[in-house]
């Protein structure tokens, strides 16, 4: 009789930080089942389909792509095939090439991208230490750049700190939820649970979204805003709150600065003046503003619908302004919730995988802080902020001076050839970079441009700490022995560093963690032990004293993290989107998510149940009237074209989408929507404007050959990912 073990761990998919209770057959090294753990503070014993059924990729079923089994090098140059090599050879080759590039072009010619997913915080700390101490550059970044980077930057300016100010459980005790550009049902099902529970408890919901999402469906006020006009609405709401005397004057007086300047500028943004462009009724804007201001338990939640715009940072500030105006900060069940997408994207920010901050949000330009890290790491560090990863194409394709170009890209657990905007340009960029290292678990699209591929352990095969969206450090436990040939992410980068002449060695993740918290005051008290004893620790946790159990909500008593402790009102005028519709591209295009798959889909695409619910080539959601005028039927394959490129997908007419707007999810390789997206960046956060560009949809006359094309492409991809036709024989 095989003994099954029960192990608690944290889900590897979204940022809710659900605790999973896994039943593991240690004898056969297999997971038997996953259930929600009642020890999970955020999920209370429940999970979504990804947590419940998203683990069987660990059995390497080779549905979509293969686990990388051995290190590989493209020995004959960029177009030659990848050949399996030993770890020693791969490490030596990587170290030599990086050293040569540093010698010829300097350390700033190397870019590093860390992973916000499986590897975890300790591996993230090592990634930035590798780039800073070993390579010698601050060119380290991660996918928050294309996601909530705008939230971090925007909130920094207003309240001095860019994280969710409340905890996930508090959401269900809100009296008003202001949900703007956020689709919890699809991105964070267990956060959506809090929203629907709040509704049952009598909470009033204001939902701002161009589409009728699940939250919009149950909203008390649904503002079906025209995409790209967020600032107009936010400023108009502030206008109503101020002009109708709904402000919390005491709070403003005691805890904020620059109100009068702000109020003067806002005066022009009456609801009537923004109605036409936002496609909203002034009366509805007023209703929403009054409802927002009616409670001290108004929780604002936002996602990519605010941040993935060229005015993302400023719209984040506009959201925070509303909470400042109404005293909605610093106590239970209130505040701002930029709900961080991925399981550890909050963590990768915490660990300083950012070009301008060290672990714990300490500026690289601050000499005193830099000195501290130089002492700890026994090396001198660059004082210059590094390159955001969205500017890599510019530094490869359009930089005239070779000494200022990027010549190497070390990518850990990220798939830019799938998830970055303007994929044709990304492919060109990756082909032109002299040396590309991909450290990952599954073969993916970016591997096709890699000179070296290094196999890392996946979630389930290693330990670590993830930070949930609400700042909760939680222990991730190992479930299975890793595949032969894989090494842990942090171990790999330590080996490369040693081979490059900067020895890094740790026996386990706890050593790495303890080194990190000693350098980051905000996290200093968050030891492994305290995490275990308290079901996670929410930072800040300054003291190792057991009595300091972390901080559920921020800005208690209205004290903000700015230098003067006050919230700063920041006014910004409206800037429209960078690319609008025109006769050649008459529809707007926006990227969205699919609940059953996660991001670039290398994990969920290899989970047999998850891939059944949704598969290639995805679909483009369009208003039925638009489908009719193009003579498109539901399920028919169509071509979608933008100024950057084109893709093929299926037509999905739905009344939940307004006329003139189209939406695609970004999971698919064949129906790849990032072929179309705009790489224009927010100037402050360098986040691309994924949520708005122009496209046209074309009918494909020969549906039969289009279907055959899809089948052929799929076969093609699986072959390129190393899967033999017929799939794998199960041992």
């Amino acid at each position: 009789m095989t003994a099954y073990k029960k192990v608690n761990t944290i889900c590897p998919y979204c940022g809710t930080g659900c605790v999973i209770e896994c039943t593991v057959d240690t004898e056969h090294n297999r997971i038997i089942e996953a259930k929600g753990s009642p020890d999970g503070v955020n999920n209370e014993g429940r999970l979504c389909l990804k947590g419940l059924y998203g683990w069987d990729y660990l059995n390497d079923p080779q549905i979509l792509t293969r686990r990388i089994q051995q290190p590989m090098i493209r020995k004959g140059g960029k177009t030659s095939p990848l050949q399996e090599v030993s770890w020693d050879e791969a490490i030596r080759y990587t170290a030599d090439r990086l050293n040569a590039i540093i010698k010829e072009f300097g350390p700033d010619s190397i870019m590093g991208a860390g992973s916000a997913r499986g590897p975890g915080n300790e591996a993230g700390y090592i990634t930035q230490k590798f780039m800073r101490a070993c390579v010698g550059t601050n060119n380290v970044d991660h996918c928050a750049r294309i996601c909530h980077g705008a939230s971090v930057t925007g909130l920094l300016g207003v309240i001095g700190e860019g994280a969710m100010s409340l905890s996930v459980p508090e959401i269900e005790d809100a009296e008003v939820i202001f949900n703007i550009g956020y689709n919890a049902a699809v991105s964070h099902p267990l956060v959506a649970r809090r929203i629907v529970r709040a509704k049952k408890k009598g909470c009033k919901i204001i939902c701002v979204d161009p589409r009728k999402t699940e939250t919009a469906r149950i909203a008390d006020i649904f503002l079906a805003i025209k995409g790209g006009t967020n600032m107009l609405l936010l400023n108009a709401m502030a206008n109503v709150i101020i002009s109708e005397g709904l402000t919390d004057t005491d709070f403003i007086r005691q805890h904020t600065k620059d109100f009068q300047v702000y109020a003067d500028e806002i005066a022009a943004y009456t609801p009537e003046s923004v109605a036409a462009e936002t496609h909203l009724q002034p009366a509805d804007i007023r209703k929403a503003a009054r409802l927002f201001a009616s409670s001290k338990h108004t929780v604002t939640l936002w996602g990519m619908g605010i941040t993935q715009f060229s005015q993302g940072v400023e719209c984040v500030a506009a959201c925070a302004n509303l909470s400042l105006l109404t005293g909605n900060f610093g106590h239970y069940a209130t505040g701002v919730g930029p709900v961080r997408g991925q399981n550890n994207v909050q963590g990768t920010c915490d660990m300083g995988l950012l070009p301008n901050t060290y672990p714990g949000y300490q500026e690289v330009t601050d000499a005193r802080v830099r000195n501290k890290f130089e002492k700890a790491w026994h090396v001198s560090l660059s004082p210059n902020p590094g390159l955001p990863l969205t500017q890599v194409p510019e530094k490869v394709l359009r930089e005239p001076d070779p000494k200022k170009r990027i010549h190497a890209y070390y990518i850990v657990g990220e798939d830019p050839a799938q998830s970055d905007p303007n994929l044709p340009e990304i492919r060109e960029t990756l082909s032109k970079i002299d040396f590309v290292v991909v450290q990952d678990i599954f073969r993916n699209k970016t591997c096709e441009y890699a000179d070296v591929v290094l196999p890392a352990t996946a979630w389930g095969e290693h330990e670590g700490v993830y930070t949930s969206c609400d700042r909760r450090f939680q222990r991730v436990h190992k479930l299975l022995e890793p595949q032969r040939g894989c090494k842990k992410d942090w171990e790999i980068q330590c080996l490369v560093a040693a081979a490059m002449g900067y020895p890094m060695h740790y026996d386990n993740t706890e050593q790495i963690w303890n080194e990190m918290i000693a350098l980051a005051p905000k996290f200093a008290g968050a030891t492994y032990e305290k995490m275990e004893m308290n079901k996670g620790i929410q930072w800040p946790c300054y003291s190792t004293d057991p009595a300091d159990k972390g901080t559920p909500y921020l800005h208690k008593g209205g004290t903000f993290a700015t230098a003067d402790g006050k919230g700063h009102f920041q006014f910004f005028p409206y800037t429209p989107v960078q690319e609008k519709e025109d006769p050649q591209y008459p529809l707007s295009f926006c990227t969205v998510r699919e609940v059953g798959h996660y991001s670039v889909r290398t994990m969920t695409g290899n989970c047999r149940l998850l891939r059944t619910l949704a598969d290639e080539p995805g679909y483009i959601a369009m208003n039925p009237a638009d489908c009719e005028s193009l003579h498109l039927k539901r399920g028919e394959l169509v071509r979608v074209i933008s100024r950057r490129g084109s893709t093929i997908t299926r037509c999905l007419p739905t009344e939940r989408v307004s006329s003139g707007a189209t939406y695609m999810t970004y999971q698919w390789w064949i129906g790849a929507c990032n072929e179309l997206t705009n790489d224009k960046l927010d100037p402050k956060s360098h986040t691309p404007e994924y949520k708005y560009c122009a496209c046209r949809v074309e009918k494909i006359e020969n549906q039969h050959s289009a279907e055959q094309f899809i089948q052929d492409q799929y076969k093609n991809i699986r072959t390129r990912m190393g899967i033999r036709e017929g799939g794998r024989t199960h041992e």
Binding site: R30, I31, I32, E33, N43, R46, L47, C48, L49, L52, Y53, D56, N59, P61, I63, A184, A185, V186, P189, L190, A192, R193, V196, R197, K199, K200, K212, E214, R217, I218, V595, G596, R608, L609, L610, R611, T612, L613, A614, D615, E616, Y619, R634, G635, R650, L652, T654, E655, R656, I710, Q711, Y714, K715, E725, G726, G727, R728, T729, H730
Partner: protein
């Protein structure tokens, strides 16, 4: 009243976890070990979305079932506290699916008869051959591709079911080709069976739902609750009567 699963549309977020839980519970835990293309994905609960509503749709185990009335083969019957559809004897005619006012019955295409799904229409030797297919390397699996677009594009009442006249009772069917995934062996009416013949015997969708939108309506539990409330009311009235005295 029978037992049935109730869905709260306010709590439903359309994530379809319930649909997967249904398939996993009816197929068994081995579903994660067998070849990914060797089983059928036919949930008995479906998420339906229209302009204003998102909710799960599943059998209500009606006390006077329209499906029972419609079935020409007496395959549907009233159990102790549920409506039972005998999948072994179902011929796939589809009348019940058309009759159900909730659209809760789907005509499931069976490509992989295995020990969970009755393959009674296939003569005995072929059942063994069919089961053997499950554990050997699968044939090309492009089927997975287009297979469950139905869950996106509308769930109930699939076309393609055989009419009663195509399958005279008692006749062995023509041998289907070895299931390469391209031909279904049978079509069977699928509806919620309250997980009656599963390992757990308990509905799997209810504990799986992340927002707790699903619950079991159990007439016995309701009757007990009502009795308790009535007893409490009587006790209160008895007390106040005493006080008046």
């Amino acid at each position: 009243m029978n037992k049935f699963i109730k869905a709260d549309p306010i709590l439903c977020i359309g994530c379809r976890t319930c649909m997967i839980a249904c398939v996993v519970n009816h197929t068994g835990k081995r579903i994660f070990e067998i070849d990914p293309n060797s089983y059928d994905f036919n949930p008995r609960i479906h998420i339906v979305k229209n302009k204003n509503v998102t909710k799960p749709v599943q059998c209500h185990h009606c006390p006077k079932p329209k499906c029972l009335e419609a079935c020409p083969f007496d395959v549907i019957s009233l159990g102790k506290d549920s409506v039972i559809l005998d999948e072994d004897r179902c011929t796939g005619c589809g009348f019940c699916a058309k009759a159900c006012p909730f659209g809760a019955i789907t005509m499931a295409e069976i490509y992989h008869p295995n020990k969970r799904v009755r393959a009674a229409a296939i003569p005995a030797p072929d059942i063994a051959a069919a089961i053997a297919i499950e554990t050997t390397p699968a044939a090309p699996q492009e089927k997975g591709f287009f297979h469950n677009l139905s869950s996106l594009f509308g769930g109930g009442g699939k076309k393609g079911h055989k009419k009663a006249s195509d399958v005279p009772e008692g006749t062995a069917r023509p041998q289907p080709p070895v299931p390469s995934g391209k031909f279904s062996v049978r079509t069977i009416a699928y509806k919620c069976d309250l997980c009656a013949h599963t390992d757990t015997g308990q509905p799997a969708c209810i504990p799986a739902c992340p927002t707790e939108a699903l619950s079991l309506v159990d007439p016995a539990v309701i009757a007990a609750q009502r009795a308790k409330l009535q007893a409490e009311k009587k006790a209160r009235e008895g007390q106040s009567a005493q006080v008046k005295l």
